[in-house]
Amino acid sequence: MENKIIENTVLKFEHVSVSYVPGKNAVDDINADVKEHAITAIMGPSGCGKSTLLRAINRMHELYKGITVSGHILLKGEDIMEMNPMQVRCKAGMVFQRPNPFPTMSVYDNVLAGYKLNGIKLKKSQKDEIVESCLRDVGLWKEVKESLNKKGTFLSGGQQQRLCIARAIALKPEILLMDEPTSALDPIATNKIEQLALELKKIFSIIIVTHNIAQAARISDMSMFMYLGELIEYEKTKIMFTNPKDKRTEDYLNGQFG
């Protein structure tokens, strides 16, 4: 892998903890700098807090009662807690595990959903341009340009997931948060998404939660290994996979647990 990692920080975790039940941290005191134009993989056994950490970044935890997030998360140097949550969510786009295009909207409208939902008015020419460029970015343009007015749910699972990525990048986020984006997809669709991630990192920064160690090795520049809510190790992927510092990381990468 020839990865020239540009050493700019796009996202900074400072003592980030999240708890669902008082006194018990599901994510415990995370400190890390996420690099710009890099793919950062978050790995770890089930229940170690990967999703919880990811959802802290776009402030999804606020939508539910009783979840407390402490510490600071800086997006491009700005504390996300001091920003408007809706603005944070525009700047940190999220792709979910299951592809979930909006069932009532066409492919075209799905790409523009962020604008529609936020009440941003665009001219028809602007819309066309955004739709085409985003669909091109996710490699879907050729496949769907004849059926832009069909419902997004008629696409295959892999196409739907790429549509969801297009929907997220249409808002020109700083960072893309992907929570196991390929775990519901077959190998071919998975491969397409991986290639896509490698393309997209030229424009965006990407954090991807994955259970698939091989996938992390294939596409990520940096890797985080979490265990029981703690960040055990955070390293360049190449280094972590060849020379893990912590015994637990080594065990995990060797398939000893998880």
Partner: protein
Amino acid sequence: MSRRIIKDKVAKIVVCLFSGLTVIPLAAIIWELVKKGYHQINWDFFTKVAPNTLDAMLAQRSGQIIPGGIANGITGTLIMVVMAALLAVPCGLFAGVYLSEKPHTGFSKAVSFLTDLLQGVPSIILGIIAYAWVVKPMGSYSAIAGSIALFIMMLPLIVRSTEETMKMLPSNLKESALALGSSYRSVILKVLLPSSFGGLFTGILLAISRVMGETAPLMFTALGSMQVNWDVTAPTNAIPLLIWQFYNDPNLVGMIWASSLFIMILILILNITASRVARKWKIR
């Protein structure tokens, strides 16, 4: 044949038999209504009002069908059901969305409990209430009073169906919309409500079909009128009310079956449409 296959067969036959049994009452009802009612149904049935007792008697004496029809009932039912729906749909949708979105607040628990209670109130009591609240102060029986009674009856039905429909939406739909930076309000208006359109519409149709055949809430409120009446502040008739009135007039009993057949068909159409809509708009 092995025992297993025989058992399978027997089970199948039993299941079919019992599902067949549930169809029998409906088929029998429709057959009865068609048999006794069809000869009264003609163009006049929809466009004219019922004759007075004497004319009806004379016509039957000379071996003809009873002239006239139930135009006053059709228009009255239409007016009152539409007005009731115009009130109940927004209120019911609003409350239903609230119940599904914020199920744990004290207020929503109270609303939910009251909805259940309201659903259990006998319809005749709703009629009496509307009489006390609307007819008395207004000084007259009216379509307004009737539609208020029907509105109260429809309300819990729509609240419940809305709540159920909204709860059935995939949970990640809301999250993925919110994750695009949209406000809660626009998520509800532009994603959740449109996505549950099928269920909401079905619920509304079923609620309409449920109240359309109600007589009791209208007896003290709409009262009835022998003429077609478009004035919502004046006494108004309705199809089920007419059926009751025909029953009380020995010379008009012949109209009962045709009127029943007509409203039965209306309700069946509504129900079939409802289930079609539900199927067509099902979210995958």
